[in-house]
Symmetry: C2
Subunit: 298 residues, 2 copies
C-alpha cells in the first residue's frame, strides 16, 4: 500500500518558527537554448539569481514611458484608484499596479520581445504577466523596502505554486549607490525563508505600505549573507534587472534629490499559474495578482 | 558718526524663510604649515569640506576601543544615563555622549596626537572637545539620519559663534556602501542653509532621536548637490573621516547584518568657545556641548 502525500514544499505563515529551507525548483527551466541570452549570462542568472542588462531599452522607448509616467503622477484621479499606493506622510504617488493593461508605452513593456523572450528562455515556457507596477521612489523622503522574497508573498497570499517566475525592473532614472537602489543578496534564491505568523484578512491593504508578515528573521538573513553577499544593482536608464522570484532583496531610503523611477513587470510561466492561496483566507485582487493566464503573444 | 552693528552672519530659526547664505569664515585657518597633513591634503579638505584618511589608527588601538564599546553596550545602567540615546523601537544603545571624559581607550582618542595635531593644523588654534559620542548603528534596523549641518544646531542651540570646528568620525567597523555610511555633499560647507522655525525648550530631548528643526529645505539641498555632489565616505576600521562643522551630511538606514560603529569627536578652536545660544531659550547640557574650554595637551 502506498500513500501519496502532497505537502507544501514552501511552508510559510503556517509555521511556528522561522526556517531556512532548500529550494526544490530549478532556477533556469529546460535547456535555455534558442533565446537572446548567451549561455554565460544564463549560467550567471542561475548562479546569482539576478542579471543586470545595461542598455536593453533605447532612449526613444524610455522617453515615451517617461511621458506616460509624468501624466500618471500628475493625475489626481489616479491617486484615488485602488491600485494606487500613496507615499506615507505625503500625497505623492508611490506605486501604481496593473500598468500592463492599456495601450500606452508602459503597457507596451509587457509585450516587448526584449523582455518576453528572455523571460521565456529562463522559464522554459510561455509566460504571462503576474504583476506589474511603477515604483516612484521620490527624492529626499523615499522610504525603504525591507528585505523580502517576492515568492514568499506570492505563494502565501496569491497561490503561486512553484518558483517559476522572473521579475524585470526597468530603470527609468539612474539607480545610484545613494538614491535607494535595489539591494540583492547574491545567491539567496537557492533557499526559502519560511516565516512564522498568519495572514489576516485583507492584509494587502496595509502590507503594500509596510510589510509586517513574511518578513525574514535576522538569523536567516545573516546566514544568507554568509552564503552569498549583498550587492547593489546600479544602472542608467534603459538598464533592465532580471531577478528570480525568490531572490532576497530590498532597498534603502532615498535621501538624495534624485528620484528613482522603475517599472516592475513579473512574468510567470503559464504552467505555474495561481491556485488557492497557500496561507491566506482569500486571494488578493487581480490588480496585484493576475489570474488571466493567456500567454503573451508578441 | 559711525554705528557698529553686530548682526549674526548665520541667522537660523529666527527667519521666516529658508535661505542659502555664503560662508563668511575660512575653512582652513592660518597657513596650516607645520602639521601632519601635506599641503595637498589641506587643500583637498579646504575645497571639499572633508578628508578620508585610511589606516590612521592601528589595529591595537581599535581592539582596545572595541572592547570598551562592547562593555558599554552590554551595561544596562549605561542605557538609562541622560547622555545615552536608545534606538527607537528597540532597547539597543544607539548613541552615548561625552565619551571623551574618563580613562578608557575611547576617551584616549580625545588626546590622541593623530587626531589633535590635524585638528590644530586645520583650525590654526589650540582645540578642545566640543562634543563626543559613540554611534552604534545596528544591523537590519539602524535608522537613517537626515541631511543636516552640525554647525546649524551648534550655532542655534549651543552658541558656537563661527565655523571653526572639525569633526572626526573614527570608523570601528567597515563602513560599506550598503550599511548606512556617512553621506556628504561635497563642497556644501561653503554655504550656510538658514532654516525657519523656532527652537522649543529642551528640544534636544527629542531632536537626538528625530530632528524636526534645523532641517534643510529641499530647494537648498537640490542647489547644494548641483554645486557639489553626493559622496559616500567608505572605509575599513581605523579610517578617520575629518569633516568641517558646516558640511551637509547624513546617512541612510542600515538593512545589512553589518553593524556600523563609529566614534565621533568634535574639536573646536579655543578662540571659538561657546557663548549664549543664537536661537534657543537655554543652552543644552554640557554632555552635548562642552563649556570646559581648556585646550587639550597631548
Amino acid at each position: 500500500m502506498s500513500t501519496v502525500t502532497s505537502r507544501d514544499p514552501y511552508p510559510t505563515r503556517t509555521v511556528a518558527h522561522a526556517d531556512l529551507l532548500p529550494r526544490l525548483d530549478p532556477v533556469v527551466w529546460g535547456d535555455a537554448s534558442g533565446g537572446p541570452l548567451d549561455p554565460e549570462l544564463v549560467a550567471s542568472y542561475e548562479e546569482h539569481g539576478f542579471l543586470v542588462l545595461p542598455g536593453l531599452l533605447p532612449p526613444t522607448t524610455l522617453q515615451r514611458i517617461d511621458d506616460d509616467l509624468s501624466a500618471l503622477a500628475a493625475d489626481d484621479s489616479v491617486k484615488s484608484l485602488p491600485r494606487a499606493v500613496i507615499e506615507p506622510g505625503s500625497n505623492e504617488l508611490r506605486s501604481l499596479f496593473e500598468v500592463h493593461l492599456g495601450d500606452d508605452a508602459i503597457a507596451g513593456l509587457a509585450t516587448d520581445p526584449r523582455l518576453i523572450d528572455i523571460a521565456r528562455q529562463l522559464l522554459g515556457d510561455d509566460v504571462y504577466v503576474h504583476q506589474s507596477r511603477v515604483n516612484l521612489k521620490p527624492g529626499f523622503r523615499g522610504k525603504e523596502f525591507y528585505w523580502h522574497s517576492d515568492f514568499e508573498t506570492w505563494h502565501a497570499e496569491d497561490g503561486m505554486p512553484r518558483m517559476r517566475a522572473v521579475s524585470c525592473s526597468v530603470l527609468l532614472t539612474p539607480n545610484l549607490a545613494y538614491n535607494g537602489p535595489l539591494l540583492a543578496i547574491d545567491r539567496s534564491h537557492r533557499w526559502f525563508v519560511s516565516c512564522p505568523g498568519a495572514t489576516p484578512v485583507d492584509n494587502y491593504l496595509s502590507s503594500l505600505r509596510r510589510q509586517d508578515l513574511g518578513v525574514p528573521d535576522d538569523e536567516s538573513l545573516r546566514e544568507l549573507v554568509r552564503r552569498g553577499r549583498i550587492t547593489q544593482c546600479l544602472g542608467q536608464p534603459g538598464t533592465v534587472v532580471f531577478f528570480d522570484c525568490n531572490l532576497m532583496h530590498g532597498s534603502t531610503g532615498n535621501m538624495s534629490p534624485f528620484e528613482r523611477h522603475n517599472v516592475f513587470m513579473v512574468f510567470n510561466a503559464v504552467s505555474n499559474s495561481l491556485v488557492a492561496p497557500f496561507a491566506a483566507p482569500a486571494p488578493r485582487p487581480e490588480f496585484i495578482a493576475a489570474r488571466d493566464v493567456r500567454p503573451i503573444r508578441v
